[in-house]
Structure formats: structure tokens, C-alpha cells
Amino acid sequence: MTTTTATPKLPAGRTVTLGASRVAYEVKTYFRQGDSVFFTFLFPLIFLTIFSVAFSAASFGTNASGDKVTAAEFYLPAMLAAGVLLSGLQNMSIDIANERSDGTLKRLGGSPLPVLSYFIGKIGQVVVTGLLQSGLLLLVAAVAFRVELPTDPAKWLTFAWVFLLGVSTCAVLGIALSALPRTGKSATAVIIPITLILQFISGVYLSFSQLPEWLQNFASIFPLKWLAQGMRSVFLPDSFKTLEMGGTWNLSGVAIVTAIWLVVGLVACRLTFRWIRKDS
């Protein structure tokens, strides 16, 4: 019993190539799941449509040239932020909890797939679906509801970083939160209240400026409020910043709070993610 089998090292860099292969696999399976596409992918679009139609007569203020801000214009940034939260956090955590329940993770955990490649696949899937979702929202808003989209490249640059930072943060938090539900069946019951409450207190469905100050302060702990604020800074007239806390868009606040949550999420993933629940 002297000869030991030397375990050959796997080639370096496979984490990234396998991550890319996971992204393709995840995106493919995402769109083949009819129900998740409907609830998380089209949900913000459906709500934008409902709000735009329901509140078509309501006034949301005026822009610099004195034109009325329509419901579609007002709700577009909110729905973009909600889409990021739903695709990233809600869909991701429920999806992973289900994969833990149905044995997908157990199988992957017994294979030489790096955990990081699995994460890359999940985050990539959220980025791809989030981009398509935002694109669709912007398209419908512009074409069907005649929302005038910004022409200033600086605004689009803001949109790009708020979107990317938001999507990564929500995806990472989604992975971390997936450890919460004990079973796949309980996942929706555990996760949806969290995201629903966040949406209500963060200015997605209700106008943030109308919330009581203590609730505004409470919501400011969480990233969704900041994401929605970042999106408003892109799509609402600049004069609307007076309605924000402190009367400014506070983009550095958006970056800082979201980035802190990104780090918190990463640390939580690193500490809590397990392919399976070991019984000992």
C-alpha cells in the first residue's frame, strides 16, 4: 500500500469557461420554464401597462417645458428597478432553493463544476434576462406609451452602471437568500413577502415622496430604494429631484449603499452557500 494515485490537476481557467457554458445553459432553461418567464420576466411590463392605463388621467407633475409627466413616464423607472429586483433577487433565490430541493445542486456538487462557475452562470443569466427585460420595458414605454427617453449620453451611462450594479447586487443577494427556505415548496412563501414589502416601501408602487419620513429612512437601509432613485434620476425630469430625500438624486449614495449590499451579499454567499445541507 505504497503507491498512491496522484490526482491530476484540472486545467486552469476552466472556472471562467465553465461559467460561460453555465450562462448559456441557465438562459436556455430559464426561457423554457413558461411560468417563471411570465411572473418575473413580464411582470414589470404588465404593471407598467396597468399603471399607465389606470392612471392615464392622473397628474404626476410637469417637466421643465411645462408638459405633463404621464403615468407611464412616472412608473417606468420604478418598473425598471422592480425588474432588476425580481429577476435578480426573487427569481434567483426561489430558483436555487428549488434546485437544492429537487437534487440539481446535489448532482452538481458531486461533479467537478466549480461553485464559482455556477455563480457566474446564475449572475450571467440574471444580467441577460434583466437586459432583455429592461429593453422590452423601454421599447413598450417609448412605442406604446410615448414616453420620451433621454437623449443625453450621460443619463444612459448612469442607467448602465445603476443597472449593472443593481443586477449584480440583487443576484448575489438572491444566492445568499436561497439558503433561507428549508424546501423548494416553501421558497415562494418565504421570498415573495420580502420582495413585495421592499417594493412597497421603496417607491416602486407607491410614490416614495408620499411615504412617512420614518419609513423613508427605514427603506433607505435596503438597496431597492436606491436603485429606484438611480433609475428616477435617469428617466424623470431633473426638477423631480426636489421630491427626493435631501432634494438631490444623490447618485453617490446610490453607488455606496448598493455596493455595500453587493459586498454583504458576496460575503454571505461565501459563508452560507452549500451544494447540499450536510446533516452533521
Binding site: M1, T2, T7, L10, S21, Y25, T29, R107, D279, S280
Partner: protein
């Protein structure tokens, strides 16, 4: 000494859940290229043992070495050399058989040809079907295909043919024999004793968390348990006698009755008979153990 290290080496393996002892000092080796069948009633500790060796569960005490590595600390390099067919799988299966196998093949440094694997498990006709549309037995074959696509040195098969029809099982045995010929080491748990007899080089019988017997398939239970059994009927009813000389017994019967004895039967106990006798002699309380394992 130049003896190669066994692929699996287990010494005094124990696993406890609170006060409950699921495995109580199990020891065995599996040599390279050997097929070892682990037999035992439900909840006897088969799956606990195999899952400890796969790295899914941590042992409470004892030693375990799989391909020279402690399975509790096996890294990706180690996993790349294993093939695991779990006892159950319930994935949603929104991909086709071929997509799933091609994807998993990509995880391994020297995978087998995907189409050959699909053919080997008899799913060529279903290669383009979504996994969720397959029958239970067909999905099980996908599990087996996923277990072997990475060209493992050591293959774990946890009740691989549950839900197979007899023909599919025979095809599966052929596949396993071809893997054996290529030198794959195999650890198999099964409920089907004929499967163990067909495939296994050696077997271990586990009951109540302990290994109650281990040996080559024709040694299990000891020589005595294989003494042929002669059955016949006469006016006094049913008779049964175990003898090492069944032909002489039959000849005596023939002479005594002056004709064909009614209902004459000469049987050599199968592995199944030997196994059932072994487990019955051990008298485990399987029910409670089964419930406990399921509740965990």
C-alpha cells in the same frame, strides 16, 4: 510492497445522528477494477455508507479513503475522477438528453463521447427529447449516463436499476460489464440480488449499520448456506432436506416410493436465499431505521 492502494478503503466507519447509530464500525476495501456490491435491507446503512464515500455526508468517526483522498475533503480534481449515480433525482429537466450530457461532459477533463454514452444507455431515440418528458426508467438511464460521461475511475451506483423493466436491466448490466472491462472500479448498492450476482465480484451485506458478511459472491453466507435443498411430497405431506448429496437422496426416494416422488425439486440456494437467511438471522428492526433515514 508494491500492491496498489485500494480505490476505496473504509475502517471502522461510524455515523450517528444524535443517539441513533446508523453505521456502527463498517470496514471494507474495494480494489482497483473491482465491482463491489453493497447489499442490505432499506435503512440498513447502504446509502449512508455510499454518501459518506461520495463526500455528501460527514462520518462521525473511523477512516475513509476514496482514490487515496479523504472524501470529506475531496476537491474538484478528486470529483473529476468519480462518477456518481444518486439514488433519486427529481430535476425539472427542461433540457434535452443530449444537451444535458454535453453540458456535463464539459465539466470533465477527458469525457466520453456523448452520443456513444447515449447509445450505451439505449436513449438514442430520445436524445432530442426534454428530460422531463421521459418515463421514470428513461430518466434513470439519463442519471446513469451522467454518472459515466466523465470517464470515472470509480463509479458509485446507488440502486441504479430501480424502475427499469427486465430488458432495460439486462441492457444496463451489459453497459456495466463494458465499464468493468475498461477497468472502472464500481461500488453498487442494489435491492436486486440477481443484479449483485450478475455484476459483483464481491459483496458485503449490511444490516443494522454493521457489515454482517463480506466475500466473493459465491462465498457470502459461508459454504453451509449453499447446501442444496431437496423438496418432495408424499402421503405425510411436504418434506424438505438439505444435503450435499442431492442425487443420492433422490435415488433413495425413488427406490423407496418405487416411482417419481411427487413435487420433486432440487435447488441450490441462490444469492437471494443466502442473503435473506443472513438478514433474517441478524434480525434487524429495519422499519424504524428506515423512518429515521427518511426523516433526516
Amino acid at each position: 510492497m508494491t500492491t496498489p492502494e485500494p480505490h476505496v478503503r473504509v475502517r471502522d466507519l461510524r455515523k450517528t445522528y444524535g443517539n441513533f447509530v446508523a453505521l456502527d464500525g463498517v470496514s471494507f476495501d474495494i480494489e482497483r477494477g473491482e465491482t463491489f456490491a453493497l447489499l442490505g435491507p432499506n435503512g440498513a446503512g447502504k446509502s449512508t455508507t455510499i454518501e459518506i464515500l461520495e463526500g455528501y455526508r460527514d462520518r462521525s468517526s473511523g477512516e475513509a479513503s476514496v482514490l487515496g483522498v479523504d472524501p470529506q475533503h475531496g476537491g474538484l480534481d478528486w470529483k473529476a475522477r468519480l462518477g456518481i449515480v444518486l439514488q433519486s433525482s427529481g430535476e425539472s429537466g427542461n433540457v434535452t438528453v443530449r444537451e444535458q450530457l454535453a453540458h456535463f461532459a464539459g465539466f470533465y477533463p477527458h469525457p466520453r463521447d456523448v452520443d456513444e454514452v447515449i447509445a450505451a444507455v439505449g436513449l438514442t431515440d430520445k436524445a432530442k427529447s426534454r428530460i422531463k418528458s421521459l418515463s421514470g426508467g428513461q430518466r434513470r438511464r439519463v442519471d446513469v449516463a451522467l454518472g459515466v460521461v466523465g470517464r470515472p475511475e470509480l463509479l458509485f451506483l446507488d440502486e441504479p436499476t430501480t424502475g427499469f423493466d427486465p430488458e432495460a436491466r439486462r441492457e444496463f448490466w451489459e453497459l456495466i460489464r463494458s465499464l468493468k472491462r475498461e477497468g472502472t472500479t464500481i461500488l453498487l448498492t442494489t435491492h436486486y440480488l440477481d443484479e449483485a450476482a450478475q455484476l459483483g465480484d464481491r459483496a458485503g451485506v449490511i444490516a443494522g449499520g454493521t457489515l454482517i458478511d463480506i466475500g466473493t459472491i459465491d462465498e457470502i453466507g459461508g459454504a453451509d448456506s449453499r447446501i442444496p435443498l431437496v423438496r418432495w411430497r408424499d402421503e405425510n405431506g411436504q418434506h424438505e432436506e438439505r444435503t450435499t448429496e442431492p442425487a443420492s437422496l433422490v435415488a433413495r426416494l425413488f427406490a423407496a416410493t418405487g416411482g417419481e416422488p411427487a413435487g420433486l425439486e432440487v435447488r441450490r440456494p441462490s444469492l437471494e436465499d443466502v442473503y435473506l437467511a443472513l438478514v433474517a438471522a441478524h434480525g434487524t428492526n429495519d422499519k424504524t431505521m428506515d423512518q429515521l433515514e427518511h426523516s433526516l
